[in-house]
C-alpha cells in the first residue's frame, strides 16, 4: 500500500501550521487587580501595541479580585460600626473598610502599623495635607487643630483635614480624618479618606473605633468581605500609606521633613517584598539622614573635628559580588586591589542574631573602612563605617556590637 501524496503533503505542512499558532509569550499583558493588591489577580487579555501614537480604549475585561495572597495576622482588634464593609487586607493594612453614602459617595478606612515613630505625626499629617492639595502646617498649628483620644493602645492624635486635590473626585475624596498613635517601637495610623460630607458623618464613629482598639486577635469583619479574604501586598503603598521617614527603603517616595533614624532601628516593610531588619546602634551614634540607597545613617564625632560615617544599605541579588565590592571599597580609601585568593584571608565572619555577617577591616592612606555584608533572602545588606584610622579603630568594637545585634528576620 503506497501512501497517498496529499496525505504526505498534509503531514509535512501540519507542523508548520501548529508552530505558527504558537502563543507569543512575550506579549504585553494588561490586567486589573484589587486596589493595593497587584499581586493577587488573574491577568486579562494581551494588549497589542497600538500603531502610531493614538490612545485606544483600555483593553481586557475587568478581572475579578484574585485569590488571596500573603497577609500577616492582625496585631490589634477593634469594633467597627456595622455599616462599614470589611475590605481585603494587605501586608500594610491591618484593617480595611469601605463606607458608602448617598450619590456614590464613599470613604476608605484603614489601619496601618509601622515600626518605630515612622516619621511622626507632623510629617505624616503634612503629607496627607499635600495629598489633599493643602499647604503644610507647623507643630504649633497642629497643636491647635489636633484632638486627643484615649485608646488602650495609647493616646491618639486625631486630625480632620479638608481639601480636594486637583482633578480629585468629590464623591470619593475631599477629607481625611486620621488618628496617629506614635510610639518608639511602633506607630498606628488610622485613616478615613473620602467624600467630605460622608467623612463628617462617620467622624465620631471613626473616633469611637479608634477608642475600641486593643492588642489581641483578629478584628471581626463588620460586613461581608468583598473580593478575597486577604491579598498580597502591592506596590501601591508608596503614594497612599504612611511612609516612615526614619529608614525609607530604596525607591520609596522620600518624606518631607527632617529624617531621623531611631537608635533601635527598623527598616519598615511597606510590603512583603521589602526588607525587614532590626538592630541596636551604640548610644554614641547620632542618626543621620537617609536616602534612596541608605536604609540608615549614623555619624560619630571624634577628636579634632574628625567624624565617622556609618551606613546601612541593601541591594538586590549579590550586590555586585564580594571581590568586586571589596576592591571598590579599597579603591575608595587608596588601597590596591586584591585577588580572589587573598580575599579569604581578609574576611572575618561575625555572628549576628539570625545569621552571619562577613566583615573586612581595611585601613588605607585616605581613610579606614569597616564593612560588614550579608546575603539574606536574595538581597545583600551592607553595613559600612568609614572614618580616619584612629576614630575607626575606636569605634570598631561598637561597630561589631552593632553587627551582632542585627536581626534580619525580627
Amino acid at each position: 500500500m503506497k501512501f497517498p501524496r496529499p496525505l504526505l503533503c498534509f503531514g509535512l505542512v501540519l507542523p508548520c501550521v501548529l508552530f505558527s499558532a504558537c502563543k507569543d509569550k512575550n506579549a504585553v499583558q494588561v490586567y486589573r487587580v484589587s486596589k493595593g493588591e497587584s499581586d493577587a489577580a488573574a491577568p486579562g487579555n494581551s494588549a497589542p501595541e497600538s500603531p502610531g501614537t493614538g490612545v485606544m480604549p483600555a483593553m481586557g475585561a475587568p478581572a475579578e479580585p484574585g485569590a488571596p495572597a500573603s497577609v500577616q495576622p492582625p496585631q490589634v482588634t477593634g469594633t467597627p460600626p456595622s455599616n462599614w464593609e470589611a475590605r481585603p487586607l494587605s501586608a500594610m493594612r491591618q484593617a480595611s473598610y469601605l463606607v458608602k453614602g448617598d450619590n456614590g459617595a464613599t470613604a476608605d478606612i484603614s489601619l496601618v502599623i509601622l515600626a518605630g515613630p515612622a516619621g511622626g505625626a507632623l510629617d505624616n499629617i503634612n503629607r496627607w495635607l499635600s495629598q489633599l492639595g493643602q499647604p503644610e502646617i507647623t507643630a504649633e498649628q497642629l497643636a491647635k487643630i489636633a484632638r486627643h483620644v484615649a485608646s488602650p493602645l495609647g493616646d491618639a492624635t486625631v486630625v480632620d483635614l479638608e481639601g480636594l486635590p486637583q482633578g480629585g473626585d468629590a464623591a470619593k475624596d475631599g477629607r481625611i480624618v486620621a488618628g496617629i498613635i506614635s510610639g518608639d517601637s511602633r506607630s498606628f495610623f488610622f485613616k478615613m479618606r473620602g467624600n467630605a460630607a460622608l467623612a463628617e458623618s462617620q467622624k465620631e464613629a471613626f473616633i469611637q473605633w479608634i477608642g475600641t482598639m486593643r492588642q489581641g486577635e483578629s478584628a471581626p469583619p463588620a460586613g461581608p468581605v468583598s473580593g478575597a479574604e486577604a491579598v498580597s501586598p502591592a506596590a501601591s503603598v508608596a503614594a497612599t500609606e504612611p511612609v516612615s521617614a526614619t529608614c525609607p527603603v530604596a525607591g520609596a517616595t522620600p518624606v518631607a521633613g527632617p529624617a531621623t533614624c531611631p537608635v533601635a532601628g527598623t527598616a519598615p516593610a511597606a510590603d512583603s517584598e521589602k526588607p525587614r531588619i532590626k538592630w541596636e546602634a551604640p548610644a554614641g551614634w547620632k542618626p543621620g539622614a537617609t536616602s534612596a540607597m541608605r536604609q540608615a545613617s549614623f555619624s560619630v564625632a571624634g577628636q579634632d573635628g574628625e567624624s565617622a560615617d556609618i551606613s546601612v544599605s541593601v541591594l538586590g541579588g549579590d550586590g555586585g559580588g564580594d571581590l568586586e565590592n571589596v576592591n571598590r571599597w579599597r579603591d575608595q580609601i587608596g588601597l590596591g586591589n586584591v585577588e580572589a585568593g587573598e580575599l579569604k584571608a581578609l574576611v572575618v565572619p561575625v555572628a549576628c542574631h539570625d545569621g552571619e555577617i562577613f566583615t573586612v577591616d581595611m585601613a588605607g592612606p585616605k581613610a579606614r573602612m569597616l564593612v560588614g555584608w550579608a546575603k539574606v533572602d536574595g538581597k545583600s545588606w551592607f553595613f559600612k563605617l568609614i572614618a580616619p584610622d584612629r576614630l575607626a579603630g575606636g569605634e570598631k568594637a561598637g561597630f561589631e556590637k552593632f553587627l551582632r545585634s542585627v536581626q534580619f528576620h525580627p
Binding site: 506579549a27 497587584s38 497589542p48 497600538s50 483600555a58 481586557g60 485569590a67 488571596p68 525607591g251
Partner: protein, 390 residues
Amino acid sequence: MAHRFFDFISSLKLTIVCLSAAMILVFVGTLAQVNFGIHEVQERYFQSLVVWWPAGSQGLRIPVFPGGHLIGGVLLVNLVAAHLRRFRWSWSKLGIHLTHAGLIILLAGGLFTDLFSVESFMRLAPGETKNYSEDSRAVELVVVDGSDKEFEQVTAIPEERLKRGGTIALASLPFRIIVRHFYQNSQLQPLDQAGPNAVPAASQGVGARVAVSELPRATAQNEGDLVSAVIEIAPVPGPDVPPSPGTWLVSGQLDTPQTFSFAGKPWRLAMRQARYYKPFSLTLKKFTHERYPGTQIPKNFASSATLNDPERNESRDVLIYMNHPLRYRGETFFQSGFEENEAATILQVVYNPSFIAPYLACVIVGVGLLFQLTWHFVGFLRRRKTHPAK
C-alpha cells in the same frame, strides 16, 4: 520539480548531513558554555534557527551555522517524509514502522517542549498564598494605574520588548514609553560612590541619585543578569500635552516601585521577575525538612499546601515532595528547594504540553523493536525447522 524536492527532503543524505551538523553543534555549543554560560548557549545555539556571528552584536551579523531548531526541524521533516514516501504496509515491517513513529514523536516532542514549555518557580513562606509563579530569568516592566478607588490596572511589558528599544505605545497607557537605554546586565551605584565622572541614570526617582554601568552577561549557572533600563514617560503628541514626567531608571535591584503623576493620575513603575498568573492559588501550610540523624544531609523535604480553585469550586490539601510533584491544570509543581532556616519553600513550576511525548515515544520504540526482533527470531526458528543445520 515536486518530485525532486521530495527526493531531496526524504533522502538519506539529508539525514546524514543533519546528524553530522547536530554533532558539530553539540560539540561547539558545549565548548561555548565556558564563555557564555548554559542559558545563553541554549538560546544562541540550540533554541534558534541559525547561529549568528558575532554573537550578541546589535550590528551586522552573519549566519554561520544552522541552529538547533533548524536542524531538528529538518530532521523531523526528513524522517516523516522518508517514512511516508517509502511506506509499504506489511506485517514484517510493522516493528520498523513503530520504531520510526516513536522517533518522530520523540523529535516532535522535543521541538514542542522547546517552543511551548515554560519553567518558573513559586516561593511560598508558611501561611503565604500565591496565584502566580515567577520566571527566574526573565523580567517585566510593570506600569500600574492606581487612579481607581477599587482596582489597579497593571500593564506588564516583557523584557524582550524593552530589549528592542524604541517607543512603546499601548492602548492601556495614556503616554508612551521610550526606552532610552537597556542594560541586559548592570550594576547600580550611588552617585557618591560611583566616581567623579558618574552621571545620574535618569532625571527622576531613584535614577537621579544612582549611576548605572553595563556589565557583561552573567555566565555562571548560579548567577543571573541584573536587567535595568532607562525609560522616558513621554506624552502622546497632540493638543493640551501634559508635561513629561521625565526619565526613570527601572531595575530589578530596586525593590520598591517608583511613583509619578501623569495628567493628574498616580502611576507606579517597577521592574520585577516576569509573572505567570494562574486561575488557582496555593497556600503553604507547612514545610518540613528532614535530615539524616547527626548530619546535614537532606533525607526528605516536603511542602504541605492547600490548593484553591474558585473556578472549579475545588479546595483540597496537597503534599508535594521529592519525586512526588503536584500535577494540576497542565502544570507540574516540583519540590525544588527551600530557603535558609526553612523560611520558605521553592516549587519549580513546569508547563509542558508535550511532556508525555518522550514516555510515549519510548514505549512505541520499545514495542517496535521487540516486535521486529520477535518477528525475525520466529522466522529464524521456522527456517531452522524447515532447513535444519547439517
